[in-house]
């Protein structure tokens, strides 16, 4: 494969689409260009740095529940969480549109999706952005186990998967309330975050992990801005030694579940589960078993070093086969904005994502968004994608002087002959751009 082609693939498969001139930047060494992004990601925008920390938002929720009950929560959702959501979504899109290290940005999105929290649960609407900024983003270059611990010890995950009020049945907390055990977090940790659905655990393992996780909760709000963070409540923690996947864990409070999570992170089933997801995301919807096996080995050998995993992906030959993956709506929108050299994102970007069916942080379940083509393309959605391409072209000003050059800037040699021909024969520069953004090649990465 020629390097022109590889440079284009580097920007669309691994990155989030080429900004003007990016393909030429990648040209001399496409793999090195990608590796440098993982080693040295660009800093996040000032807008993102200044967004409110989750614990403050969570503590407002705690205060609202305590003082005003349901009506307080409803007004918090309307007056604080909704606007926060819009800000977060726009800032996040803007970061992806403008960053010079969009492979890193994709890497953040991948792990954010792996550890999905979703606004389908209404209180999460205003919190998902903070969760991604705090638990995911700083930890995607380190080891998987640290990412896992940061995630499970984040107040938003605790809230999302109902662990805040999961009380050990034989604890003071359970006695003073009518509460008890909630297995939700434990189940998703095993099924989604670590071992995978076929990872060999049983219901007894779920219960065992759930018991170990009792007490993993939130610090109470004092009404003066503190609280809302992760806190271990010993009075809610079920006493006793546990077994998980055949390993024994003595009860020493918070350390019990921590050690269990560390072991889960290092389990071969986790390596396979992660390898499968990575291969599906970076190689194809149905990756060859050898690729999954190889990534799985790398995961074990490097003790889940995520930087090494990213570098291993770059070295997979079949990850460089052009356009095997269909873009999700988010990928389509971000790549289109990058393609036209947009300076950021606005409310319109959020609207487009809504129209195309992928509202940020609104995945249907903790499983996250689907990562295969069939889930994302229907006849109706196909027309919407064209509507989007046309609307982008409509909004772009000034229009490119030479639509052919712009098309090559966006996709390098990835457009087929027919598409380039159609672009060259467009009835106006605007239509040429609409064609480039709605062409079948641009639907793929």
């Amino acid at each position: 494969m020629n390097r022109q082609m590889e440079a284009a693939i580097a920007t669309v498969r691994f990155g989030m689409g080429a900004r003007p001139n990016e393909i030429s930047d990648a040209l001399s060494d496409p793999r090195g260009w990608l590796a440098a992004q993982i080693a040295n990601p660009a800093p996040v925008s000032a807008e993102m740095t200044s967004l409110e920390p989750s614990h403050q938002l969570v503590s407002q929720l705690q205060v609202a529940i305590r003082s005003e009950g349901v009506s307080g929560v409803i007004s918090l959702l309307r007056n604080v969480y909704r606007p926060q959501y819009v800000r977060e979504a726009i800032v996040r899109s803007g970061q992806a549109v403008t960053t010079s290290t969009s492979f890193h940005e994709r890497w953040v999105r991948f792990w954010s999706d792996h550890f999905t929290v979703t606004g389908k649960k209404p209180v999460i609407v205003g919190l998902a952005g903070g969760f991604e900024r705090e638990a995911i983003r700083p930890n995607v270059g380190g080891r998987f186990v640290d990412l896992l611990l940061a995630v499970i010890q984040h107040p938003v995950m605790i809230l999302y998967l109902d662990n805040a009020r999961s009380f050990g049945p034989n604890t003071p907390a359970a006695r003073y309330s009518d509460g008890g055990l909630n297995e939700n977090l434990a189940r998703e940790v095993l099924e989604l975050h670590t071992l995978g659905v076929d990872g060999g655990y049983e219901q007894s393992d779920v219960r065992s992990l759930a018991l170990m996780l009792t007490g993993w909760s939130l610090s109470p709000a004092d009404g003066h801005g503190s609280g809302g963070g992760f806190h271990f409540h010993a009075t809610a923690h079920e006493p006793g030694d546990r077994h998980l996947m055949g390993v024994g864990y003595a009860d020493d409070g918070i350390g019990q579940a921590e050690r269990a999570l560390r072991d889960l992170a290092a389990h071969p089933a986790t390596a396979r589960n992660i390898a499968r997801e990575l291969a599906r995301h970076f190689v194809s919807d149905r990756p060859a078993p050898e690729i999954v096996a190889r990534l799985s080995r790398t995961f074990i050998e490097t003790e889940g070093d995520l930087t090494q995993m990213a570098l291993a992906l770059i070295e997979i030959q079949s990850a460089w086969i052009p356009l095997t993956k269909l873009k999700t709506p988010d990928e389509l929108v971000i790549s289109a904005l990058r393609g036209i050299g947009a300076k950021g994102a606005n409310r319109g970007v959020l609207n487009a994502l809504v129209e195309l069916g992928q509202r940020p942080w609104m995945a249907p379940s903790p499983k996250g968004w689907p990562d295969t083509a069939e889930a994302w393309i229907t006849p109706d959605r196909a027309l919407r994608r064209v509507d989007f391409g046309a609307a982008m072209a409509e909004r772009m000003a000034p229009l490119p002087k030479d639509p052919m050059i712009q098309a090559r800037d966006m996709m390098g040699e990835l457009y087929g002959q027919d598409t380039m021909m159609a672009i060259s024969r467009a009835e106006s520069p605007r239509q040429a751009l609409a064609l480039a953004l709605s062409a079948p090649e641009f639907q793929r990465r």
Binding site: N351, E355, A382, R430
Partner: protein, 389 residues
């Protein structure tokens, strides 16, 4: 079901007019009477087929030469020219003497590139020189308050409105339905992708089944936009010189179908524009023009190719209409340019100049020196408009 995409929320209207609201409170009273002319330019992008828009049904050669492309319903105008049958509102305007049709007309550009032709149409110059400003912007720059008076519809400001004078711009906020001719061009491209191959045709079938009241879900883009434009232009503090695009007129194939669809949409838009303008319609002029015309003879795919001479429509309550202005060159090969294109016998800038002078009250000097440099505005065709000044 009403189409919510085209609702202008009260809030957005206020936002649009926010800057000018103060001006209208402090200065221009809303009750001020007197002339307040409005001008709307609709650019048909792609090169509209003049022989379909204003077919010379009285020309004995038309049916022979055009064949199947001449087989569509028409509305008689002056006995020689007719109007495309999908435009009953505009036909009504003819009867009310509010429509002038132009034929065999073109800009000074005598070649066949969309991009260059649009450059000439919008710059108002004699040649495509890559001019960075448009003639409507230069006109706006000669009067105060261009940011309120000038409006570009659709967020990307077209060249005709670009330049030194700040102008407003407005676009509906949600995804509009893409121009069907764009989808036409994409269908064969998507067919190259096995997963995507059938998606767009199936999507259209679905759309046709579930689409709106009209049964044709693809119609209505211009209709919706023009309704909102009418709403804006009707306001006492609204824009007065407005430009907007209509895409999809480059009909190399299935011309009958697309012509019918786009003409109906445009016609419906004019009806809604007029309704929204209300009393202000009597002070309104709409010019509908394209960058060029098309070949006299059909091509091999049920369409026509780029050609020089075309047609234009000038309509509105301020137009002294009910007539065609055309020096008909004929359709036979010897009558054409290079034996292929309808020969242009009139300069479109004549219409621009007349609208500027006799509707918008620019002086011939302003026009010849600044707005349409080099065009002899003093020799413009007279009496196209009721004087609104």
């Amino acid at each position: 079901m009403p189409d919510r995409r085209f609702d202008i929320s009260r809030r957005r209207l206020l936002k649009f007019s926010g800057a000018s609201a103060l001006a209208s409170i402090s200065g221009r009273s809303l009750a001020t009477t007197g002339p307040d002319p409005r001008f709307l330019m609709i650019i048909l992008r792609g090169g509209a087929d003049g022989l379909s828009m204003l077919p010379p049904t009285g020309d004995p050669d038309l049916a022979d030469i055009r064949g199947r492309l001449s087989a569509f319903p028409t509305l008689p105008l002056d006995g020689f020219f007719s109007l495309h049958g999908a435009m009953p509102t505009i036909g009504e305007l003819w009867k009310q003497q509010q429509l002038i049709g132009f034929h065999a007309i073109s800009t000074p550009y005598q070649d066949r590139s969309h991009f260059d032709a649009q450059n000439v149409l919008e710059s108002g110059l004699a040649r495509p020189d890559g001019s960075a400003d448009g003639w409507l912007n230069r006109a706006l720059a000669l009067r105060p308050d261009s940011a309120r008076r000038g409006l570009s519809v659709g967020a990307g400001t077209p060249l005709i409105m670009r330049g030194a004078a700040p102008v407003g711009s407005w676009a509906p906020s949600q995804l509009p339905v893409a121009d069907p001719t764009l989808v036409d061009r994409l269908v064969p491209l998507w067919a190259n992708d096995p997963l995507l191959a059938r998606m767009l045709p199936q999507g259209r079938e679905l759309q046709a089944m579930t689409g709106g009241m009209g049964g044709d879900p693809n119609s209505g883009r211009m209709a919706g936009l023009l309704e909102q434009v009418g709403q804006l232009m009707a306001r006492a503090d609204g824009p007065r010189i407005v430009a907007m695009d209509s895409d999809g007129w480059d009909m190399h194939g299935t011309l009958l179908f697309h012509m019918n669809r786009l003409s109906a949409d445009l016609d419906q838009g004019i009806a809604r524009l007029r309704a929204k303008l209300g009393d202000a319609w009597s002070q309104t002029v709409v010019l509908i023009a394209s960058e060029f015309g098309r070949t006299v003879e059909p091509n091999g795919t049920g369409g026509s190719d780029h050609g020089i001479g075309g047609s234009a429509l000038l309509l509105g309550g301020a137009v002294r209409g009910g007539r065609m202005i055309a020096d008909w060159p004929g359709l036979r090969p010897a009558d054409r340019v290079a034996a292929r294109d309808l020969r242009p016998t009139r300069d479109l800038r004549d219409v621009f100049a007349a609208a500027l002078a006799d509707h918008l009250s620019y002086s011939p000097t302003e026009i010849s020196e600044t707005i349409l440099p080099g065009f002899a505005a003093a020799n413009r065709t007279p009496e196209m408009f009721h004087r609104t000044l």
